[in-house]
Protein backbone atom coordinates (compact mmCIF):
# COMPACT_ATOMS: atom_id res chain seq x y z
CA UNK A 1 0.00 0.00 0.00
CA UNK A 2 1.21 3.49 -0.85
CA UNK A 3 0.18 6.76 0.78
CA UNK A 4 0.89 10.08 -0.89
CA UNK A 5 1.30 13.15 1.30
CA UNK A 6 2.57 11.11 4.24
CA UNK A 7 4.37 14.19 5.58
CA UNK A 8 1.09 15.93 6.41
CA UNK A 9 -0.59 15.54 9.77
CA UNK A 10 -3.44 13.41 8.46
CA UNK A 11 -1.09 11.45 6.17
CA UNK A 12 1.17 10.53 9.10
CA UNK A 13 -1.77 9.49 11.28
CA UNK A 14 -3.10 7.38 8.45
CA UNK A 15 0.25 5.64 7.91
CA UNK A 16 0.48 4.89 11.64
CA UNK A 17 -2.98 3.38 11.58
CA UNK A 18 -2.38 1.28 8.47
CA UNK A 19 0.93 -0.02 9.88
CA UNK A 20 -0.98 -1.50 12.80
CA UNK A 21 -3.56 -3.11 10.51
CA UNK A 22 -2.80 -6.87 10.32
CA UNK A 23 -4.30 -7.07 6.80
CA UNK A 24 -1.77 -4.59 5.43
CA UNK A 25 1.55 -6.23 4.59
CA UNK A 26 3.52 -3.23 3.46
CA UNK A 27 3.17 0.54 3.72
CA UNK A 28 5.12 3.09 1.71
CA UNK A 29 4.77 6.84 2.11
CA UNK A 30 5.52 9.45 -0.52
CA UNK A 31 6.24 13.10 0.31
CA UNK A 32 8.94 15.73 0.30
CA UNK A 33 8.57 16.17 4.07
CA UNK A 34 9.30 13.42 6.57
CA UNK A 35 6.29 11.93 8.41
CA UNK A 36 5.43 13.80 11.60
CA UNK A 37 5.11 10.64 13.67
CA UNK A 38 7.58 7.89 14.41
CA UNK A 39 6.64 5.22 11.89
CA UNK A 40 8.19 1.76 12.33
CA UNK A 41 7.42 -0.15 9.18
CA UNK A 42 6.59 2.52 6.66
CA UNK A 43 9.06 2.87 3.83
CA UNK A 44 9.54 6.57 3.18
CA UNK A 45 9.91 7.55 -0.48
CA UNK A 46 11.29 11.05 -0.55
CA UNK A 47 10.03 12.62 -3.74
CA UNK A 48 7.97 15.49 -4.98
CA UNK A 49 4.63 14.30 -6.32
CA UNK A 50 4.92 16.87 -9.13
CA UNK A 51 8.18 15.31 -10.29
CA UNK A 52 8.00 12.76 -13.15
CA UNK A 53 10.60 10.64 -11.33
CA UNK A 54 7.79 9.19 -9.15
CA UNK A 55 7.01 7.20 -12.30
CA UNK A 56 10.23 5.28 -11.63
CA UNK A 57 9.87 5.19 -7.85
CA UNK A 58 6.37 3.80 -7.43
CA UNK A 59 6.21 0.78 -9.82
CA UNK A 60 9.03 -1.22 -8.07
CA UNK A 61 7.10 -1.13 -4.78
CA UNK A 62 4.50 -3.44 -6.35
CA UNK A 63 1.65 -1.98 -4.30
CA UNK A 64 -1.95 -3.03 -4.91
CA UNK A 65 -3.51 -0.01 -3.19
CA UNK A 66 -2.79 3.71 -3.40
CA UNK A 67 -4.28 6.24 -1.01
CA UNK A 68 -3.97 9.69 -2.55
CA UNK A 69 -3.84 12.07 0.38
CA UNK A 70 -1.66 14.83 -1.03
CA UNK A 71 -4.27 17.40 -1.85
CA UNK A 72 -3.66 20.87 -0.46
CA UNK A 73 -6.84 22.25 1.02
CA UNK A 74 -5.55 25.68 1.95
CA UNK A 75 -2.31 27.30 0.83
CA UNK A 76 -0.08 27.78 3.89
CA UNK A 77 1.63 31.10 4.65
CA UNK A 78 4.62 30.28 2.44
CA UNK A 79 2.68 28.70 -0.38
CA UNK A 80 1.28 30.53 -3.35
CA UNK A 81 -2.07 29.51 -4.75
CA UNK A 82 -0.21 28.59 -7.93
CA UNK A 83 1.96 26.11 -6.04
CA UNK A 84 -1.18 24.68 -4.47
CA UNK A 85 -2.71 24.24 -7.90
CA UNK A 86 0.50 22.54 -9.03
CA UNK A 87 0.53 20.02 -6.20
CA UNK A 88 -3.16 19.31 -6.60
CA UNK A 89 -3.51 19.01 -10.33
CA UNK A 90 -0.01 18.28 -11.70
CA UNK A 91 0.68 16.02 -8.72
CA UNK A 92 -2.43 13.98 -9.47
CA UNK A 93 -1.50 13.82 -13.13
CA UNK A 94 2.01 12.53 -12.34
CA UNK A 95 0.61 10.02 -9.87
CA UNK A 96 -1.82 8.65 -12.44
CA UNK A 97 0.96 8.50 -15.03
CA UNK A 98 2.97 6.43 -12.54
CA UNK A 99 -0.07 4.24 -11.88
CA UNK A 100 -0.14 3.23 -15.56
CA UNK A 101 3.05 1.28 -14.90
CA UNK A 102 1.96 -0.37 -11.64
CA UNK A 103 0.63 -3.70 -12.93
CA UNK A 104 -0.35 -4.90 -9.46
CA UNK A 105 -2.65 -1.95 -8.75
CA UNK A 106 -6.24 -2.85 -7.82
CA UNK A 107 -7.50 0.03 -5.68
CA UNK A 108 -7.13 3.79 -5.55
CA UNK A 109 -8.72 5.74 -2.71
CA UNK A 110 -8.56 9.53 -2.91
CA UNK A 111 -9.09 11.79 0.05
CA UNK A 112 -10.88 14.45 -1.97
CA UNK A 113 -13.04 17.27 -0.75
CA UNK A 114 -16.72 18.10 -0.44
CA UNK A 115 -15.50 21.57 -1.38
CA UNK A 116 -16.27 20.54 -4.95
CA UNK A 117 -19.95 21.20 -4.23
CA UNK A 118 -19.14 24.76 -3.20
CA UNK A 119 -21.15 26.71 -0.64
CA UNK A 120 -24.30 28.22 -2.08
CA UNK A 121 -27.32 30.03 -0.70
CA UNK A 122 -29.59 28.02 -2.99
CA UNK A 123 -28.04 24.63 -2.37
CA UNK A 124 -30.04 21.74 -1.02
CA UNK A 125 -29.23 21.24 2.63
CA UNK A 126 -27.55 17.90 1.96
CA UNK A 127 -25.63 17.34 -1.26
CA UNK A 128 -25.81 13.86 -2.71
CA UNK A 129 -22.90 12.45 -4.71
CA UNK A 130 -24.54 13.04 -8.08
CA UNK A 131 -24.96 16.78 -7.43
CA UNK A 132 -21.32 17.80 -7.96
CA UNK A 133 -22.13 19.78 -11.09
CA UNK A 134 -25.20 21.52 -9.72
CA UNK A 135 -23.49 24.91 -9.35
CA UNK A 136 -20.71 26.65 -11.25
CA UNK A 137 -17.17 26.16 -9.93
CA UNK A 138 -16.39 29.45 -8.26
CA UNK A 139 -13.01 29.14 -6.55
CA UNK A 140 -9.60 27.93 -7.59
CA UNK A 141 -9.69 25.09 -5.07
CA UNK A 142 -13.10 24.01 -6.31
CA UNK A 143 -11.81 23.89 -9.87
CA UNK A 144 -8.74 21.96 -8.69
CA UNK A 145 -10.86 19.33 -6.98
CA UNK A 146 -13.13 19.05 -10.00
CA UNK A 147 -10.09 18.52 -12.22
CA UNK A 148 -8.66 15.88 -9.89
CA UNK A 149 -11.99 14.08 -9.89
CA UNK A 150 -12.09 14.30 -13.65
CA UNK A 151 -8.62 12.73 -14.02
CA UNK A 152 -9.56 9.86 -11.74
CA UNK A 153 -12.83 9.25 -13.56
CA UNK A 154 -11.02 9.07 -16.87
CA UNK A 155 -8.43 6.76 -15.37
CA UNK A 156 -11.14 4.53 -13.87
CA UNK A 157 -12.90 4.27 -17.24
CA UNK A 158 -9.70 3.10 -18.93
CA UNK A 159 -8.76 0.58 -16.21
CA UNK A 160 -11.69 -1.65 -15.40
CA UNK A 161 -9.54 -3.74 -13.05
CA UNK A 162 -8.75 -0.80 -10.76
CA UNK A 163 -11.43 0.44 -8.43
CA UNK A 164 -11.30 4.17 -7.76
CA UNK A 165 -13.07 5.62 -4.75
CA UNK A 166 -13.32 9.38 -4.54
CA UNK A 167 -13.99 10.28 -0.91
CA UNK A 168 -15.46 13.76 -0.62
CA UNK A 169 -14.53 15.04 2.81
CA UNK A 170 -16.13 17.77 4.83
CA UNK A 171 -13.54 19.75 6.85
CA UNK A 172 -11.95 17.64 9.58
CA UNK A 173 -11.77 18.51 13.27
CA UNK A 174 -10.36 16.64 16.23
CA UNK A 175 -7.97 16.74 19.18
CA UNK A 176 -4.52 18.11 18.31
CA UNK A 177 -5.48 18.55 14.69
CA UNK A 178 -4.52 21.75 12.93
CA UNK A 179 -6.87 22.48 10.10
CA UNK A 180 -8.51 25.56 8.73
CA UNK A 181 -11.48 25.11 11.04
CA UNK A 182 -9.47 24.55 14.23
CA UNK A 183 -7.27 27.55 13.45
CA UNK A 184 -10.41 29.58 12.90
CA UNK A 185 -11.88 28.51 16.24
CA UNK A 186 -8.56 29.14 18.03
CA UNK A 187 -8.49 32.84 17.17
CA UNK A 188 -9.31 35.41 19.86
CA UNK A 189 -12.41 36.43 17.90
CA UNK A 190 -14.06 34.60 15.04
CA UNK A 191 -15.11 36.82 12.13
CA UNK A 192 -18.58 35.95 10.86
CA UNK A 193 -20.86 37.37 8.20
CA UNK A 194 -23.33 39.68 9.87
CA UNK A 195 -26.82 38.22 9.75
CA UNK A 196 -25.72 34.78 8.55
CA UNK A 197 -25.73 31.64 10.65
CA UNK A 198 -24.78 28.91 8.19
CA UNK A 199 -25.15 25.19 8.80
CA UNK A 200 -21.66 23.73 9.02
CA UNK A 201 -20.87 20.05 8.77
CA UNK A 202 -17.57 18.52 9.90
CA UNK A 203 -15.97 15.13 10.28
CA UNK A 204 -14.04 13.92 13.31
CA UNK A 205 -10.44 12.96 12.51
CA UNK A 206 -10.96 9.41 13.84
CA UNK A 207 -13.86 8.93 11.46
CA UNK A 208 -11.89 10.58 8.66
CA UNK A 209 -9.13 7.98 9.01
CA UNK A 210 -11.49 5.04 9.56
CA UNK A 211 -13.42 6.00 6.45
CA UNK A 212 -10.24 5.66 4.36
CA UNK A 213 -9.51 2.24 5.88
CA UNK A 214 -13.10 1.20 5.24
CA UNK A 215 -12.87 2.41 1.64
CA UNK A 216 -9.60 0.51 1.13
CA UNK A 217 -11.35 -2.69 2.32
CA UNK A 218 -14.46 -2.04 0.28
CA UNK A 219 -13.60 0.26 -2.61
CA UNK A 220 -16.92 1.44 -4.02
CA UNK A 221 -16.42 2.88 -7.51
CA UNK A 222 -17.21 6.58 -7.74
CA UNK A 223 -17.72 9.38 -5.26
CA UNK A 224 -18.65 8.94 -1.60
CA UNK A 225 -19.37 11.76 0.86
CA UNK A 226 -17.63 11.62 4.23
CA UNK A 227 -19.00 13.69 7.13
CA UNK A 228 -20.28 13.43 10.66
CA UNK A 229 -24.08 13.11 10.70
CA UNK A 230 -26.04 16.26 11.34
CA UNK A 231 -24.99 19.89 11.11
CA UNK A 232 -24.16 22.66 13.54
CA UNK A 233 -24.93 26.36 13.32
CA UNK A 234 -21.82 28.53 13.10
CA UNK A 235 -22.96 30.69 16.04
CA UNK A 236 -23.42 27.61 18.18
CA UNK A 237 -20.05 26.21 17.18
CA UNK A 238 -18.32 29.45 18.18
CA UNK A 239 -20.26 29.43 21.46
CA UNK A 240 -19.21 25.84 22.17
CA UNK A 241 -15.59 26.79 21.51
CA UNK A 242 -15.98 29.54 24.10
CA UNK A 243 -15.13 32.25 21.59
CA UNK A 244 -16.83 35.45 20.56
CA UNK A 245 -18.15 36.06 17.09
CA UNK A 246 -17.18 39.26 15.33
CA UNK A 247 -20.00 39.99 12.89
CA UNK A 248 -18.84 41.85 9.81
CA UNK A 249 -21.16 43.14 7.10
CA UNK A 250 -20.75 41.03 3.97
CA UNK A 251 -19.15 43.65 1.66
CA UNK A 252 -16.53 44.46 4.33
CA UNK A 253 -15.68 40.87 5.21
CA UNK A 254 -12.84 40.50 2.73
CA UNK A 255 -11.11 43.83 3.53
CA UNK A 256 -11.45 43.37 7.31
CA UNK A 257 -10.11 39.82 7.37
CA UNK A 258 -7.22 40.66 5.05
CA UNK A 259 -6.31 43.54 7.41
CA UNK A 260 -6.53 41.05 10.27
CA UNK A 261 -4.20 38.79 8.35
CA UNK A 262 -1.61 41.57 8.17
CA UNK A 263 -1.99 41.98 11.93
CA UNK A 264 -1.15 38.31 12.40
CA UNK A 265 -4.63 36.83 12.53
CA UNK A 266 -5.46 33.75 10.54
CA UNK A 267 -6.27 34.10 6.85
CA UNK A 268 -9.40 32.56 5.39
CA UNK A 269 -9.32 31.05 1.95
CA UNK A 270 -12.01 31.99 -0.52
CA UNK A 271 -13.65 28.60 -0.07
CA UNK A 272 -13.68 28.95 3.66
CA UNK A 273 -15.20 32.42 3.43
CA UNK A 274 -18.04 31.08 1.34
CA UNK A 275 -18.46 28.28 3.85
CA UNK A 276 -18.74 30.82 6.67
CA UNK A 277 -21.43 32.63 4.74
CA UNK A 278 -23.57 29.86 3.30
CA UNK A 279 -22.45 26.59 4.93
CA UNK A 280 -22.71 23.16 3.36
CA UNK A 281 -24.07 19.75 4.26
CA UNK A 282 -23.69 16.41 2.52
CA UNK A 283 -25.76 13.25 2.53
CA UNK A 284 -23.73 10.37 4.00
CA UNK A 285 -26.05 7.48 3.19
CA UNK A 286 -23.70 6.10 0.55
CA UNK A 287 -20.85 5.89 3.09
CA UNK A 288 -23.07 4.00 5.52
CA UNK A 289 -24.93 1.76 3.09
CA UNK A 290 -22.36 0.98 0.40
CA UNK A 291 -18.92 1.43 1.97
CA UNK A 292 -20.33 0.11 5.23
CA UNK A 293 -18.85 2.68 7.57
CA UNK A 294 -20.96 4.61 10.08
CA UNK A 295 -19.16 7.62 11.58
CA UNK A 296 -18.96 7.48 15.36
CA UNK A 297 -18.98 11.23 15.93
CA UNK A 298 -21.83 13.45 14.82
CA UNK A 299 -20.78 16.94 13.72
CA UNK A 300 -21.75 18.34 17.12
CA UNK A 301 -19.91 15.55 18.99
CA UNK A 302 -16.80 16.16 16.87
CA UNK A 303 -16.79 19.85 17.79
CA UNK A 304 -17.34 18.98 21.47
CA UNK A 305 -14.44 16.52 21.40
CA UNK A 306 -12.10 19.13 19.96
CA UNK A 307 -13.27 21.76 22.47
CA UNK A 308 -12.68 19.37 25.39
CA UNK A 309 -9.11 18.71 24.30
CA UNK A 310 -8.41 22.38 23.49
CA UNK A 311 -9.61 23.36 27.00
CA UNK A 312 -7.36 20.74 28.60
CA UNK A 313 -4.39 21.96 26.60
CA UNK A 314 -5.01 25.58 27.56
Amino acid sequence: MLITGVGSQVGSLLAAQLERDPDVEYVAGLDTRRPRLQLDHTEFLEADIRDPQIGRLIPPTGVDTIVHEQIVRQPGPRMSSLAMHDVNVIGTLQLLAACERVQTLRTIVVRGSAGVYGAEPQAPQFFREEMATMFPLRTRFQRDVAEIENYFETYARRHAAVRCTMLRYQPAIGPNLRTQITRYLSQPVCPTYMGFDPRIQLVHIDDALEAITAAVRNPVPGAVNVAGPGTIGLARMIRLAGKRALPIAAPLFGPVTSTGQRLGLDAQSEDFQRLLRYGRGVDTRRLTDEVGYTPRYSTVAAVEDWVRQAREAA
Binding site: P121, Q122, A123, P124, Q125, F126, R128, M131, Y193, M194, G195, F196, D197, R199, P229, G230, T231, G233, A235, R236, M237, I238, R239, A245, A249, A250, Y278, G281, D283
Partner: protein, 309 residues
Protein backbone atom coordinates in the same frame (compact mmCIF):
# COMPACT_ATOMS: atom_id res chain seq x y z
CA UNK B 1 -52.00 40.92 23.49
CA UNK B 2 -54.63 43.15 21.96
CA UNK B 3 -54.72 45.60 19.14
CA UNK B 4 -53.91 48.66 21.26
CA UNK B 5 -50.51 47.31 22.32
CA UNK B 6 -49.69 46.72 18.70
CA UNK B 7 -50.68 50.24 17.78
CA UNK B 8 -48.57 51.54 20.66
CA UNK B 9 -45.66 49.48 19.36
CA UNK B 10 -46.05 50.84 15.84
CA UNK B 11 -46.33 54.42 17.14
CA UNK B 12 -43.12 54.09 19.15
CA UNK B 13 -41.41 52.45 16.21
CA UNK B 14 -42.44 55.32 13.96
CA UNK B 15 -41.35 57.92 16.51
CA UNK B 16 -38.00 56.18 16.89
CA UNK B 17 -37.39 56.12 13.16
CA UNK B 18 -38.40 59.77 12.80
CA UNK B 19 -35.92 60.82 15.46
CA UNK B 20 -33.15 59.30 13.37
CA UNK B 21 -32.63 55.93 15.06
CA UNK B 22 -31.59 52.90 13.05
CA UNK B 23 -34.20 50.18 12.66
CA UNK B 24 -32.80 47.83 15.36
CA UNK B 25 -32.73 50.58 17.99
CA UNK B 26 -36.16 51.81 16.98
CA UNK B 27 -37.50 48.27 17.34
CA UNK B 28 -35.99 48.00 20.80
CA UNK B 29 -37.53 51.30 21.79
CA UNK B 30 -40.86 50.30 20.39
CA UNK B 31 -40.65 47.13 22.39
CA UNK B 32 -40.75 49.08 25.64
CA UNK B 33 -44.39 49.71 24.83
CA UNK B 34 -45.12 46.02 24.99
CA UNK B 35 -46.18 44.25 28.16
CA UNK B 36 -43.39 42.89 30.30
CA UNK B 37 -43.71 39.27 29.19
CA UNK B 38 -43.31 40.21 25.55
CA UNK B 39 -40.24 42.28 26.42
CA UNK B 40 -38.81 39.35 28.29
CA UNK B 41 -39.35 37.23 25.18
CA UNK B 42 -37.41 39.66 23.03
CA UNK B 43 -34.51 39.61 25.48
CA UNK B 44 -34.47 35.83 25.31
CA UNK B 45 -34.48 35.96 21.53
CA UNK B 46 -31.52 38.33 21.45
CA UNK B 47 -29.62 36.01 23.82
CA UNK B 48 -30.33 33.06 21.61
CA UNK B 49 -29.07 34.77 18.51
CA UNK B 50 -25.69 34.45 20.25
CA UNK B 51 -25.70 30.73 19.95
CA UNK B 52 -26.37 28.33 22.81
CA UNK B 53 -29.36 26.21 21.86
CA UNK B 54 -30.24 22.90 20.28
CA UNK B 55 -31.26 22.72 16.63
CA UNK B 56 -31.88 19.87 14.25
CA UNK B 57 -29.84 19.21 11.13
CA UNK B 58 -31.96 21.68 9.16
CA UNK B 59 -31.38 24.50 11.60
CA UNK B 60 -34.95 24.30 12.93
CA UNK B 61 -35.03 25.49 16.54
CA UNK B 62 -38.29 24.60 18.24
CA UNK B 63 -37.61 26.76 21.28
CA UNK B 64 -36.93 29.76 19.06
CA UNK B 65 -40.15 29.07 17.19
CA UNK B 66 -41.98 29.04 20.55
CA UNK B 67 -40.30 32.26 21.61
CA UNK B 68 -41.40 34.19 18.54
CA UNK B 69 -44.87 32.66 18.71
CA UNK B 70 -46.46 35.62 20.56
CA UNK B 71 -45.58 37.89 17.65
CA UNK B 72 -47.21 35.58 15.12
CA UNK B 73 -50.10 34.98 17.51
CA UNK B 74 -50.76 38.70 17.49
CA UNK B 75 -50.79 38.77 13.69
CA UNK B 76 -52.98 35.69 13.65
CA UNK B 77 -55.58 36.80 16.19
CA UNK B 78 -55.70 40.56 16.05
CA UNK B 79 -54.08 41.77 12.86
CA UNK B 80 -55.47 39.30 10.33
CA UNK B 81 -58.24 37.68 12.44
CA UNK B 82 -57.60 34.29 10.81
CA UNK B 83 -60.51 31.83 10.55
CA UNK B 84 -59.57 28.19 9.98
CA UNK B 85 -61.54 25.30 8.52
CA UNK B 86 -60.57 21.66 8.34
CA UNK B 87 -57.33 21.71 10.37
CA UNK B 88 -58.22 18.22 11.62
CA UNK B 89 -57.81 16.92 8.04
CA UNK B 90 -54.04 17.31 8.31
CA UNK B 91 -52.54 13.95 9.39
CA UNK B 92 -51.55 14.08 13.06
CA UNK B 93 -48.38 12.11 12.47
CA UNK B 94 -46.29 10.81 9.62
CA UNK B 95 -45.36 12.46 6.37
CA UNK B 96 -47.67 14.77 4.48
CA UNK B 97 -47.33 17.49 1.89
CA UNK B 98 -49.30 20.68 2.42
CA UNK B 99 -49.82 22.45 -0.88
CA UNK B 100 -51.03 26.03 -0.75
CA UNK B 101 -51.58 29.07 -2.93
CA UNK B 102 -48.93 31.73 -2.52
CA UNK B 103 -49.27 35.48 -2.36
CA UNK B 104 -48.13 38.55 -0.55
CA UNK B 105 -44.48 39.18 -1.48
CA UNK B 106 -43.17 38.15 1.97
CA UNK B 107 -44.02 34.58 3.06
CA UNK B 108 -46.50 35.52 5.79
CA UNK B 109 -48.94 32.94 4.44
CA UNK B 110 -46.54 30.18 5.46
CA UNK B 111 -46.31 31.47 9.02
CA UNK B 112 -50.08 31.73 9.28
CA UNK B 113 -50.53 28.14 8.05
CA UNK B 114 -48.11 27.20 10.80
CA UNK B 115 -50.10 29.14 13.40
CA UNK B 116 -53.35 27.60 12.18
CA UNK B 117 -51.94 24.13 12.79
CA UNK B 118 -50.55 25.05 16.20
CA UNK B 119 -53.84 26.61 17.26
CA UNK B 120 -56.52 24.50 15.63
CA UNK B 121 -55.02 21.06 15.14
CA UNK B 122 -55.83 18.46 17.83
CA UNK B 123 -52.14 17.41 17.84
CA UNK B 124 -50.22 20.58 16.97
CA UNK B 125 -47.15 20.12 14.83
CA UNK B 126 -44.71 22.46 13.14
CA UNK B 127 -44.67 22.21 9.36
CA UNK B 128 -41.42 22.73 7.43
CA UNK B 129 -41.53 25.19 4.55
CA UNK B 130 -39.85 25.28 1.22
CA UNK B 131 -38.84 28.93 0.94
CA UNK B 132 -37.90 30.83 -2.20
CA UNK B 133 -34.19 30.41 -2.79
CA UNK B 134 -33.10 34.02 -2.94
CA UNK B 135 -34.19 34.60 0.67
CA UNK B 136 -31.21 32.52 1.78
CA UNK B 137 -28.79 35.11 0.47
CA UNK B 138 -30.24 37.81 2.74
CA UNK B 139 -28.66 38.56 6.12
CA UNK B 140 -30.88 37.85 9.19
CA UNK B 141 -33.76 36.74 7.00
CA UNK B 142 -31.89 33.57 6.05
CA UNK B 143 -31.04 32.54 9.60
CA UNK B 144 -34.47 33.46 10.98
CA UNK B 145 -36.25 31.47 8.28
CA UNK B 146 -34.17 28.39 9.09
CA UNK B 147 -34.85 28.70 12.78
CA UNK B 148 -38.62 28.61 12.32
CA UNK B 149 -38.52 25.63 9.97
CA UNK B 150 -37.84 27.03 6.50
CA UNK B 151 -35.54 25.26 4.06
CA UNK B 152 -34.27 26.10 0.58
CA UNK B 153 -36.89 25.24 -2.03
CA UNK B 154 -35.13 22.23 -3.49
CA UNK B 155 -36.88 18.95 -4.31
CA UNK B 156 -34.06 17.12 -2.53
CA UNK B 157 -34.85 18.95 0.70
CA UNK B 158 -38.53 18.08 0.37
CA UNK B 159 -37.72 14.42 -0.30
CA UNK B 160 -35.42 14.14 2.69
CA UNK B 161 -37.87 15.88 5.02
CA UNK B 162 -40.71 13.62 3.94
CA UNK B 163 -38.51 10.56 4.37
CA UNK B 164 -38.00 11.81 7.92
CA UNK B 165 -41.83 11.77 8.29
CA UNK B 166 -42.15 15.53 8.57
CA UNK B 167 -45.04 17.73 7.59
CA UNK B 168 -43.81 19.76 4.61
CA UNK B 169 -45.47 22.84 3.15
CA UNK B 170 -44.91 23.86 -0.46
CA UNK B 171 -46.16 26.69 -2.64
CA UNK B 172 -46.08 25.36 -6.20
CA UNK B 173 -46.81 28.78 -7.67
CA UNK B 174 -43.47 29.93 -6.33
CA UNK B 175 -42.35 33.39 -7.25
CA UNK B 176 -45.10 33.63 -9.84
CA UNK B 177 -47.52 33.66 -6.91
CA UNK B 178 -45.82 36.18 -4.64
CA UNK B 179 -44.91 38.49 -7.48
CA UNK B 180 -48.25 38.69 -9.22
CA UNK B 181 -50.07 41.99 -9.59
CA UNK B 182 -52.99 42.96 -7.36
CA UNK B 183 -55.35 42.75 -10.33
CA UNK B 184 -54.54 39.03 -10.64
CA UNK B 185 -55.40 38.26 -7.02
CA UNK B 186 -56.80 34.82 -6.20
CA UNK B 187 -56.14 33.61 -9.72
CA UNK B 188 -53.81 30.66 -9.30
CA UNK B 189 -50.70 30.72 -11.42
CA UNK B 190 -49.24 27.68 -13.14
CA UNK B 191 -48.22 24.97 -10.66
CA UNK B 192 -44.67 24.64 -11.95
CA UNK B 193 -44.14 21.32 -13.68
CA UNK B 194 -45.88 19.34 -10.99
CA UNK B 195 -42.67 18.69 -9.09
CA UNK B 196 -44.55 18.62 -5.80
CA UNK B 197 -46.69 15.72 -7.06
CA UNK B 198 -43.56 13.77 -8.06
CA UNK B 199 -42.17 14.27 -4.56
CA UNK B 200 -45.43 13.13 -2.97
CA UNK B 201 -45.56 10.06 -5.20
CA UNK B 202 -41.94 9.11 -4.56
CA UNK B 203 -42.41 9.28 -0.80
CA UNK B 204 -46.03 8.11 -0.70
CA UNK B 205 -46.99 11.24 1.22
CA UNK B 206 -50.62 12.40 1.07
CA UNK B 207 -51.17 15.82 -0.52
CA UNK B 208 -53.24 18.23 1.58
CA UNK B 209 -54.45 21.18 -0.53
CA UNK B 210 -54.65 24.43 1.43
CA UNK B 211 -56.53 27.54 0.35
CA UNK B 212 -55.41 30.83 1.91
CA UNK B 213 -57.61 33.89 1.51
CA UNK B 214 -56.38 37.26 2.76
CA UNK B 215 -52.72 37.09 1.84
CA UNK B 216 -53.40 38.81 -1.48
CA UNK B 217 -54.45 42.08 0.19
CA UNK B 218 -51.53 42.50 2.61
CA UNK B 219 -49.19 44.04 0.03
CA UNK B 220 -51.26 45.05 -3.01
CA UNK B 221 -48.58 45.15 -5.67
CA UNK B 222 -49.41 47.85 -8.17
CA UNK B 223 -46.12 48.01 -10.05
CA UNK B 224 -42.74 46.36 -10.43
CA UNK B 225 -39.33 47.98 -10.95
CA UNK B 226 -37.11 45.30 -12.54
CA UNK B 227 -33.86 47.38 -12.54
CA UNK B 228 -34.10 47.80 -8.75
CA UNK B 229 -34.89 44.12 -8.37
CA UNK B 230 -31.65 43.33 -10.18
CA UNK B 231 -29.73 45.61 -7.82
CA UNK B 232 -31.01 43.66 -4.81
CA UNK B 233 -30.79 40.28 -6.52
CA UNK B 234 -34.51 39.80 -5.86
CA UNK B 235 -36.96 38.32 -8.38
CA UNK B 236 -39.03 41.52 -8.36
CA UNK B 237 -39.12 44.93 -6.71
CA UNK B 238 -42.67 45.60 -5.61
CA UNK B 239 -44.41 48.94 -5.41
CA UNK B 240 -47.39 48.88 -3.05
CA UNK B 241 -49.47 51.71 -1.58
CA UNK B 242 -47.01 51.77 1.36
CA UNK B 243 -43.73 50.49 -0.09
CA UNK B 244 -41.23 51.99 -0.70
CA UNK B 245 -42.92 55.33 0.20
CA UNK B 246 -42.95 54.75 3.97
CA UNK B 247 -39.47 53.25 4.09
CA UNK B 248 -39.18 50.31 6.49
CA UNK B 249 -42.76 50.88 7.65
CA UNK B 250 -43.90 49.93 4.18
CA UNK B 251 -42.99 46.37 5.15
CA UNK B 252 -45.85 46.34 7.69
CA UNK B 253 -48.56 44.26 6.00
CA UNK B 254 -52.08 45.63 5.67
CA UNK B 255 -54.60 44.15 8.14
CA UNK B 256 -56.81 42.17 5.79
CA UNK B 257 -59.16 39.46 7.05
CA UNK B 258 -57.93 35.90 6.44
CA UNK B 259 -59.47 32.47 5.99
CA UNK B 260 -57.44 29.28 5.74
CA UNK B 261 -59.08 26.06 4.65
CA UNK B 262 -57.38 22.68 4.75
CA UNK B 263 -59.01 20.40 2.18
CA UNK B 264 -59.46 16.64 2.13
CA UNK B 265 -56.05 14.90 1.74
CA UNK B 266 -55.33 13.17 -1.57
CA UNK B 267 -53.56 9.88 -0.91
CA UNK B 268 -50.70 8.96 -3.24
CA UNK B 269 -49.18 5.86 -1.61
CA UNK B 270 -51.32 3.43 -3.65
CA UNK B 271 -49.72 4.58 -6.92
CA UNK B 272 -46.27 3.43 -5.77
CA UNK B 273 -42.99 5.37 -6.05
CA UNK B 274 -42.49 4.43 -9.73
CA UNK B 275 -45.56 6.48 -10.62
CA UNK B 276 -43.47 9.62 -10.12
CA UNK B 277 -42.16 9.10 -13.66
CA UNK B 278 -45.68 8.92 -15.11
CA UNK B 279 -46.07 12.37 -16.70
CA UNK B 280 -49.78 11.99 -17.35
CA UNK B 281 -50.54 11.04 -13.75
CA UNK B 282 -48.33 13.79 -12.34
CA UNK B 283 -49.98 16.48 -14.44
CA UNK B 284 -53.44 15.12 -13.73
CA UNK B 285 -52.90 15.14 -9.96
CA UNK B 286 -51.27 18.56 -10.14
CA UNK B 287 -54.24 19.94 -12.05
CA UNK B 288 -56.65 18.33 -9.60
CA UNK B 289 -54.92 19.95 -6.61
CA UNK B 290 -54.84 23.29 -8.38
CA UNK B 291 -58.52 23.05 -9.22
CA UNK B 292 -59.54 22.14 -5.67
CA UNK B 293 -57.58 25.06 -4.26
CA UNK B 294 -59.03 27.46 -6.83
CA UNK B 295 -62.60 26.37 -6.00
CA UNK B 296 -61.92 26.67 -2.28
CA UNK B 297 -60.45 30.15 -2.81
CA UNK B 298 -63.61 31.39 -4.52
CA UNK B 299 -65.85 29.82 -1.87
CA UNK B 300 -63.84 31.35 0.97
CA UNK B 301 -63.71 34.75 -0.71
CA UNK B 302 -67.51 34.78 -0.69
CA UNK B 303 -67.61 33.57 2.92
CA UNK B 304 -65.14 36.22 4.03
CA UNK B 305 -67.01 39.16 2.57
CA UNK B 306 -65.23 42.50 2.75
CA UNK B 307 -61.44 42.29 2.69
CA UNK B 308 -60.55 44.56 5.60
CA UNK B 309 -63.57 44.96 7.88
Amino acid sequence: MNQSTAIAFMRRLRAGLDSGLELPEALTKGATALPRDARHTIELILDRLDGDYPEDEWGFDEEFAELVEPFFAFLYESWWRVKVDGAERVPAHGRALLTANHAGILPWDGTMISMALLREHPLPRYPRFLVLNWAFDLPWVSSAIRKVGGVVASPFNALRLLEQDQLVAVFPEGVKGTGKAFSDRYRLQRFGRGGFVEIALRTGAPIVPVAVVGSEEIYPKIADIPPLARVFGAPFFPVTPTFPWLGPLGVVPLPSKWRIEFLEPIETASYGPEAAADRALVLELSERVRDEIQQALYANLVRRGLAFI
